[in-house]
């Protein structure tokens, strides 16, 4: 442990203002165990009364070494780790990793698999936004919305369980397609959800959108200009609430998003309320995409038939020698990827989720790096919170929609 660098207190003094050193302002440690830091974010707040003079975010309490661990696993096995990153957008994490692998080894994905991927990632987006809606409303003490959001999220998790056998850690999207085709009950389950959800969204809006107390707590708070958003590299609903219609689903369509008709909601106020409106509208747009994808869901295989990279179906193993060999090779050694690097990105509920994947010619990746939206968006927290009340800090953290698993890989 010789390379642990010791930092003296002197070196950290610049983080707080002169007034904190003289005791004029109060330093308040918020987190890592605090109900409103959404996990284990730690904030060092410098307070003048209840007004935030400075806010220093401190991350790393949920660091699990996922990226490093992935280097020690074959391409298929490493995918299981990706579920654990952004634990509210598991299918999207799978998807972006699979897309990177597909790019690296040139795999085609059948159209049916593409459409199911879209349906599931959009469901995942709604589930994530429901958690965001609930927790950020809970941060402002509107506690019922949280439980209503959880109720609807349950439908989505049931659908995930139906298709993959798991509620959250699905690993359902695989390089080259999907693990298996969706069961017959899938369509009814999704249609049922599509029928219920719009009414429920109206209910949430009835509780919050025109609620005077909610408006009071969200309007004009946590404003960031479009220029600052771009300078900090913020993406997702924060950027769209600042007036820029940037969404990877439109800007660089993947998985066949170009076939579907949907809008990118934007707002111009760039405060907590604008982000709220953007996310609520995004849920409606997601429902629109799911409906279209389900209506036009093509029949056909859900996995590439390139058995060098995709395990052959179980039925063929008993009859085909070649399939047995492929199966054996894939699950013992894995497939080799060229010594190249690729980048793939999807629009996560929080912003741009990118993955950089570098192969070393063997069956294991040389480097996997996730460009996670939470990590980047958290940078703006000091800027957003300065000059606001402590009570608003929790609202602002909620409006960024942080998932600490996403920030600390």
């Amino acid at each position: 442990m010789s390379d642990v660098r010791e930092v003296t207190l002197e070196e950290l003094r610049h983080l707080v203002s002169e007034r904190a050193l003289s005791g004029e302002t109060m330093l308040l440690n918020m987190g890592p165990q605090h109900p409103s830091t959404h996990g284990v974010l730690r904030l060092l707040l410098e307070l003048d009364g209840e007004i935030v003079v400075n806010c220093i975010p401190d991350i790393g309490f949920l660091h699990t070494g996922v990226e490093k661990n992935m280097e020690a696993k074959t391409y298929q096995k490493a995918e299981v780790m990706t579920d654990r990153l952004d634990y509210l957008y598991n299918i999207g994490n799978n998807l972006v990793y699979s897309m990177a692998v597909e790019k690296l080894v040139n795999l085609d994905v059948p159209p049916r698999a593409q459409a199911i991927r879209v349906i599931l990632t959009e469901l995942s987006r709604i589930a994530s936004h429901l958690i965001w809606l609930g927790t950020s409303a809970l941060d402002l003490a509107a506690m019922s919305v949280f439980l209503y959001g959880m109720r609807e999220r349950e439908y989505i998790l049931d659908i995930f369980e139906l298709v993959s056998g798991q509620r959250m850690m699905t690993t359902y999207v695989r390089p080259g397609g999907l693990w298996r085709d969706v069961p017959v009950e899938f369509e009814d389950a999704v249609r049922n959800f599509l029928k219920i959800m719009p009414k429920r969204l109206d209910e949430y809006e009835a509780l919050l959108t025109k609620n005077e107390l909610f408006l009071d707590r969200t309007k004009g708070i946590g404003i960031i200009s479009k220029e600052d958003c771009l300078a900090y590299g913020l993406s997702g609903p924060i950027l769209r609430a600042a007036g820029m219609a940037y969404d990877l689903r439109k800007a660089r369509p993947y998985s066949g998003y170009e076939q579907y008709d949907f809008d990118i909601p934007t707002q111009t106020d760039s405060d907590i309320y604008a982000r709220y409106l953007v996310r609520v509208e995004e849920m409606r747009q997601s429902l629109r995409i799911i409906r279209q994808a389900l209506d036009t869901l093509p029949f056909g295989p859900v996995r590439s038939n390139n058995y060098k990279f995709v395990p052959p179906p179980r039925s063929e193993i008993g009859t085909s020698m070649e399939a047995l060999i492929h199966h054996f090779k894939l699950w013992t050694e894995g497939f080799s990827a060229p010594k190249e690097y690729v980048h793939a990105a999807v629009e996560s509920p929080r912003g741009e989720l990118g993955v950089y994947l570098e192969g070393d010619g063997g069956p294991k990746p040389l480097r996997v790096h996730y460009r996670t939206p939470t990590f980047v968006n958290l940078q703006a927290l000091p800027l957003l919170t300065r000059g606001h009340f402590v009570a608003d800090v929790v609202g602002i953290i909620g409006s960024i929609d942080i998932v600490l698993g996403d920030a600390d890989r």
Binding site: A142, S144, L147, L213, A391
Partner: protein, 330 residues
């Protein structure tokens, strides 16, 4: 006479403490119902033994005192908070005079002719408990909670006090019994709608209930002033809060909803406590409903609301009431 007083005092204190336990259950069950949950239903039928289980748990919990806390004040603070809450209901009439076998029993502990002043004086004491708890814990969150509580109470006590003036003027007395009797034909909520609304809002702030629960503000200050308390000391704060909740509901019912008045209460005085009880239940239900629905208002907005809106309206209400009374009463 003394024996009667002692019996009544014991009954009131026991009622309030048992009431506290069951208000927590009522709140948890009703809140659960509103939030598509079930709520505690395991201990006893309908979860009726849940408060007992909670109480036993809290009694056997270790009581921690922070290392640098001011131990005397730290221990004293919950007591200062809970005692005013317990004695507050002494002046509230539960009913009129009941005759059992020739003995007349009054269904109230005492009828002080300055009952309302007593209420205001006693409710003001409990804020000391909260402030001292926040200060003595030697914790920054607790300190912020304590400061908020002080600021909040000062801003609301005035509006609360002024909302009492309407009923006093109409009834022409500061005795709560007289105020209830003056409402035998028409409850004061119809004569004093503005006063009622001010009382309702101010009393929410007074008992630190949502949306005015800033001193606790779980999401911001984790638990505010009682963040360092554990075991029975913690329970005492909760006890004070819920007893005050019942007390405020009782005061509100007495001042504006006709107290123990109701149909046939003249023939059967025993109905008095039943009516009062029903009104208190409804009142508490509204408090719980608000908690389930509304976000918390921000601390500075609460102060602005208290001083800039509630206080002037309360003053105006007093003025209008007085002028109308002079004109009508001649």
């Amino acid at each position: 006479m003394l024996v009667e007083w002692i019996i009544k005092s014991v009954v009131i204190v026991l009622f309030m403490t048992a009431g506290f336990a069951y208000v927590t259950l009522y709140e948890r069950r009703l809140l659960a119902r509103m939030q598509t949950r079930i709520g505690p239903n395991r201990a006893g039928p309908f979860g009726l033994l849940q408060p007992v289980a909670d109480g036993i748990k809290l009694i056997f919990k270790e009581e921690l005192v922070p290392h640098n806390a001011d131990k005397l004040i730290f221990t004293l603070a919950p007591v200062i908070t809970v005692i005013p809450a317990l004695i507050i209901t002494a002046v509230i009439p539960w009913g009129d005079t009941l005759t059992i076998g020739g003995t007349k029993i009054t269904l109230y502990l005492t009828d002080v002719n300055i009952g309302i002043l007593y209420l205001m004086a006693v409710t003001s004491i409990s804020v000391y408990g909260i402030t001292l708890a926040g200060w003595s814990s030697n914790n920054k969150y607790a300190l912020l909670g304590g400061l908020r509580a002080t600021a909040q109470m000062i801003s609301y006590e005035l509006a609360l006090g002024l909302s009492f003036v309407g009923p006093i003027l109409i009834a022409g007395s500061m005795s709560l019994l007289d105020i209830v009797k003056a409402q035998s034909s028409i409850p004061f909520i119809l004569l004093q709608p503005a006063g009622f609304i001010i009382f309702f809002l101010a009393s929410l702030a007074e008992v630190n209930r949502a949306p005015f629960d800033m001193p606790e503000a779980e999401q911001e200050l984790t638990a505010g002033y009682h963040v360092e308390y554990s075991g029975m000391k913690f329970a005492l704060f909760f006890m004070a809060e819920y007893i005050k909740l019942i007390a405020v509901a009782m005061i509100g019912s007495t001042l504006f909803l006709g107290g123990y008045q109701g149909p046939f209460v003249d023939q059967f005085p025993i109905l008095g406590p039943v009516y009062l009880f029903a009104k208190v239940i409804i009142w508490l239900g509204v408090f719980i409903w608000l908690r389930a629905t509304l976000p918390r208002i921000r601390y500075d907005r609460l102060m602005a609301f208290g001083w800039k809106i509630m206080f002037p309206i309360a003053l105006l209400n007093v003025l209008v009431t007085a002028v109308v009374l002079v004109l009508v009463g001649g």
